[in-house]
Symmetry: C2
Subunit: 205 residues, 2 copies
């Protein structure tokens, strides 16, 4: 055993199983929890146990949720006929942070990736088709990563959705606001010229 | 609420109370715990609760311990008459890592610091004096940080221990092995010339 206490040792071991937390960081965290005369260790324990036991997936959009339907799907003030298709729950969070989207989401749970052996069956694609057919979805916004796997997924979805008549759109790709042109990668810069849009008052930052 | 789930939100909040873990890192950790079909969240909860409830301080050296006496103090193969005086439990760990010391420890719990309002009464100094008097300690090795507060503490201890006749020594300070002289700070370099030692076969790395 490395430390004078098995309890300490065990706590360090389990914390260092977390991503990006090594033994030294774990030890620092444990010593912090021990040093402070507060209940943080108990609160962490309680919240993690409760989280793991009680969290659900939203039946509609597959976001994490406390109930059958998540807070976003339940929110009647949101535009229900516009659905943003994302890979993961983190993307929902990222888009929500922008405050620029008032529609609903659909979390695929990943992208089609032949290399990693992820096929359409492992994603919530059937559920998306079902949703489009049953819920009068007017527009699907594809907000999937602009990678080969992402493009493949969008192409696959477009074929599957052809018969539904839903409007498909894709989030704009191009040079970042605030970025300098000379540092943009060639592909992005080249494509951004190709897919240029008319200048209007709205184009301004 | 920031996320679609209160459970998720609460877990992120408590984890981000840990030092050097911000909201984004906490979210990443929580998503990792949710994503993996394992019991890591439960094991973390169990171990932290157990740690906080059951951990003790060694009655002799004030290191963390599972029992009344820590594993180091209980180890009869260690040299009981040589005690290394350190500020914190982390220093014990650092010295144990070196495998160069086979004596016992005494954790002061800090150093005397007038600026931070820490006086001798808040440290385990009386307990150290007591230990020296009762346990036939032959040598005390001061392994306290070479800072002003550290030096003050060593000076204070030397005065308090004068009457006991215990041998006091201090860990060597000088340029680091593997470091380049030109990058050593002036004070360290200057003092290392002042406190130079005769060259022997043992001086080699």
């Amino acid at each position: 055993m490395k430390y004078s206490s098995t309890l300490l040792n065990n706590a360090v071991e389990v914390l260092s199983e977390l991503p990006s937390i090594g033994k030294k960081s774990a030890l620092r965290l444990v010593l912090h929890l021990l040093k402070n005369d507060n209940d943080l260790a108990y609160r962490i324990s309680d919240n993690l146990t409760k989280l793991k036991k009680e969290i659900k997936q939203c039946e509609k959009c597959f976001n994490y949720s406390d109930h059958k339907l998540c807070e976003i799907c339940k929110d009647t003030s949101r535009i229900a006929d516009t659905v943003c298709v994302v890979e993961s729950i983190r993307d929902v969070m990222a888009i929500e942070e922008t405050n620029q989207f008032r529609g609903l989401y659909h979390v695929l749970g990943g992208v089609i990736s032949p290399i990693e052996g992820i096929g359409p069956d492992q994603l919530y694609i059937d559920e998306l088709i079902d949703r489009v057919e049953k819920e009068k979805v007017r527009e699907l916004i594809m907000a999937v990563s602009p990678t080969i796997d992402g493009e493949t997924t969008i192409f696959y979805l477009s074929r599957r959705l052809e018969s539904t008549g839903v409007k498909l759109s894709i989030i704009a790709r191009g040079v970042s606001f605030g970025g300098e042109l000379e540092y943009a990668d060639e592909l992005t810069l080249g494509r951004s010229i190709h897919t240029r849009i008319p200048y209007t008052a709205e184009s301004k930052l």
